[in-house]
């Protein structure tokens, strides 16, 4: 199938190159129209994000698209092809389909499994459809690509494990508490990291937030941002037993909570679990706290270990996603084969002419005394009639097949005339 992808991404090209090739949403419609105006290009799509710029095109049989598309990019961006040619990759046919699926399913992303890329693919697709650049085989392929990407998101865990320190803190809190609804969060100190983590926890349902502070100014700012209650450090002992989650990020050069203190807190809390997050260096929380039952203490390195493990987990899930993509690519290609325009037209012609031929056979037997010349004239007449009847629908079909939903028309035709694959 003559589908071609030419592009570059974060793995092949530095940001200085990517930014110069980037298309803004406002530039897309014009660029798409230019793309399908290129000789040999039937349909096209431009996918431009901060991590990649790709041009996807379906060309006419025999068209050599890669250099053409590279020239197109250069012309659109006012660059010389040699400026970026060495960063380009080219995928054709099956590889092109597979590549599109991998991109949409976020297997080709900087952070494997990130959720954004699927939405970006959808937008690029919508832009191409609106500009009249995709409707036909490319549209059919892209619909399938989006469906496969969605399937991968739901069937594999490719996007579930948290891969940043603050989201890992939330993930761990969920593994401990189940729901974070109405959990109480304590911030000791007011670092940026703890603010981000607290914000994440709030978004996931955690309610009351307390900020214990030494420096009033910064703490007040933070408390306002998080809708939190301020307490002084020397009041901490009165309140901290209420805390389910404690985030420590003070600049104190020593431990501010020790194991025996936390053991006391637990007794007051009737052993309800506590989750301590120590993102300060030097550490603020005595590591021995983790040895208590129902208490979990993670320092910054521990959180990073979980991030690493989660990335490996995503990699494992990515392997499953690759398997799905291999299968889906084959399915899509065999589906496309049955929906190609040329073979459909040929099959339609063959069908009508075989009807014509068999009817002609019957008639000829009944008109036994025809001279060969007469017989030839009648047969030619029947042949011409069928061809004339077919002419208009076929030329319309060639036109309509590249419009949106064009492949449905071909499918409709195949069904109504019972054309075999």
């Amino acid at each position: 199938m003559p589908l071609t992808v030419v592009g570059l991404n974060h793995q092949t090209a530095p940001v200085e190159v990517r930014e110069r090739l980037n298309f803004s949403p406002a530039e897309l419609p014009g660029a798409l129209q230019n793309l399908v105006a290129q000789p040999g290009v039937i349909e096209g799509l431009i996918f431009s994000t901060c991590n990649r710029v790709e041009v996807v095109a379906r060309g006419e049989e025999g068209a050599n698209l890669p250099p053409l598309l590279a020239d197109f990019l250069a012309a659109q961006r006012g660059l010389d092809r040699s400026d970026f040619e060495r960063f380009l990759y080219v995928h054709r046919g099956r590889e092109a389909v597979r590549h599109l699926m991998r991109v949409a399913a976020s297997l080709d992303s900087m952070v494997v499994g990130e959720a954004q890329v699927l939405g970006q693919v959808k937008e690029a697709f919508a832009a191409a459809r609106t500009a009249g650049a995709a409707g036909g085989v490319l549209e059919f392929v892209l619909n399938r690509v989006l469906a496969v990407a969605k399937r991968i998101r739901t069937e594999t865990g490719i996007g579930t494990a948290a891969v940043s320190v603050s989201s890992v803190a939330v993930e761990l809190a969920r593994k401990i508490f189940g729901s974070l609804e109405n959990r109480t969060v304590f911030l000791l100190g007011s670092g940026e990291m703890s603010e981000l983590t607290a914000r994440h926890l709030r978004e996931n349902g955690a309610r009351a937030v307390f900020v214990a502070h030494r420096s009033h100014e910064r703490a007040q700012q933070l408390a306002r941002a998080l809708d939190a209650r301020l307490i002084r450090f020397d009041e901490l002992a009165d309140h901290i037993a209420a805390a389910d989650i404690v985030i420590a990020s003070t600049t104190a050069p020593h431990y501010i909570l020790h194991q025996d203190q936390v053991a006391n807190l637990l007794a007051q809390r009737k052993n309800r679990p506590m989750f301590f997050i120590d993102i300060s260096v030097p550490r603020n929380l005595d590591p021995a706290i983790n040895d208590l039952d129902n208490v979990f203490l993670y320092d910054i390195d521990d959180l990073q270990h979980v991030v690493d493990a989660n990335l490996r987990q995503r990699q494992r899930e990515a392997h499953r996603a690759e398997e799905i993509i291999e299968r889906e690519t084959d399915v899509l290609l065999s589906r496309l084969k049955t929906l190609e325009l040329g073979p459909t037209i040929a099959a339609l012609q063959e069908k009508l002419h075989s009807i014509r031929a068999s009817e002609w056979e019957k008639t000829r037997h009944r008109l036994r005394d025809l001279t060969p010349e007469q017989a030839q004239i009648i047969e030619e007449m029947s042949r011409a009639t069928v061809n004339k009847i077919l002419h208009l629908p076929i030329s319309q079909l060639k036109e309509l097949a590249r419009q949106p939903d064009g492949l449905k028309l071909i499918e409709f035709l195949r069904r109504t005339f019972q054309l075999k694959d």
Partner: protein, 271 residues
């Protein structure tokens, strides 16, 4: 007595077994929803099977080991469905589905040749004693499974190096609550079962009933669970300690069951 419905049940339960095997072997399973639906359907047919047996024999269907096994599998399936409905603990299925399948299979394979009832089982309170005890045990098994899941997940979280279990097991809070709820349901049931058993035993065996090994072990078992309920509700134990204690309790349950082979009164058929 036909086992037709029981085999139908088993066919549906086999889907659950398949899910569990696939999950263990491939570390993931795409058929959980299907197998859950199959378990639900199997559960309905299981009910039909039990009802048919009860109606044709005109007694509660716990008359021999096979029937008790079938009834017990039914209770565990019920327990799983309730636990899933309440807590969405899909990973529990990996433990519960095979258990349900195997107990039902054992029942289906032995029931046609089921031995005649002992005279003891024809007494009115004995089937109730058995059913209550089995219901209690089913709840305690769920509590035990929740405890096992809790301990594995707790280990993952304490060690801070997440492996496969971390991603698949439910949050600690969920398994802790499930363990507690199942315990609080199971304990009154085994208590009632035990009281009925005592009344029966003293009435029909005379003075010697306390010396029966099964009876003695059951008391030990009951005291263990009493302590466990007290420590959870009264003292406020939760989490790891409670889970460890629950697992010890289960060991006592298994011991007390195996005592059926030592006890002259707790055999289902005459020796």
């Amino acid at each position: 007595m036909s086992t037709f419905w029981l085999w139908v049940t088993l066919a549906f339960y086999s889907m659950g077994l398949a899910h569990a095997v696939v999950t263990v072997v491939r570390r993931q399973s795409a058929i959980f929803r299907v197998s859950l639906a199959a378990l639900g359907l199997g559960f309905l047919f299981h009910f039909v099977s039990l009802a048919e047996l009860g109606l044709t024999e005109n007694r509660f269907p716990v008359g021999n080991v096979a029937e008790a096994s079938s009834f017990f599998a039914f209770l565990i399936a019920l327990g799983f469905l309730l636990a899933y409905w309440r807590y969405r603990v899909s990973s529990l299925s990996v433990f519960a589905f095979p258990l349900v399948f195997i107990m039902t299979l054992a029942a289906a394979m032995t029931r046609p040749a089921g031995p005649p009832l002992t005279p003891l089982l024809e007494q009115r309170w004995v089937p109730l004693h058995i059913s209550l005890s089995l219901s209690g045990y089913a709840a305690l098994i769920l509590s035990f499974l929740a405890g096992v899941m809790y301990l594995i997940q707790e280990r993952e979280l304490k060690h801070k190096q997440p492996r496969a279990f971390y991603y698949r097991l439910p949050p600690l809070d969920t398994t802790d609550r499930l363990g507690q709820l199942a315990l609080l349901v199971g304990f009154p049931l085994i208590t009632l079962g035990l009281i009925l058993g005592m009344i029966n035993a003293s009435a029909s065996w005379g003075d010697g009933w306390l010396g029966d090994p099964k009876v003695m072990l059951s008391f030990v078992l009951w005291v263990i669970y009493l302590l466990l309920v007290y420590s959870r509700v009264g003292v406020g134990w939760r989490g790891r300690k409670a889970a460890v204690f629950t697992i010890l309790g289960m060991a006592a349950v298994v011991l007390s069951w195996s005592a059926n082979y030592l006890s002259s009164h707790h055999a289902f058929f005459p020796r």
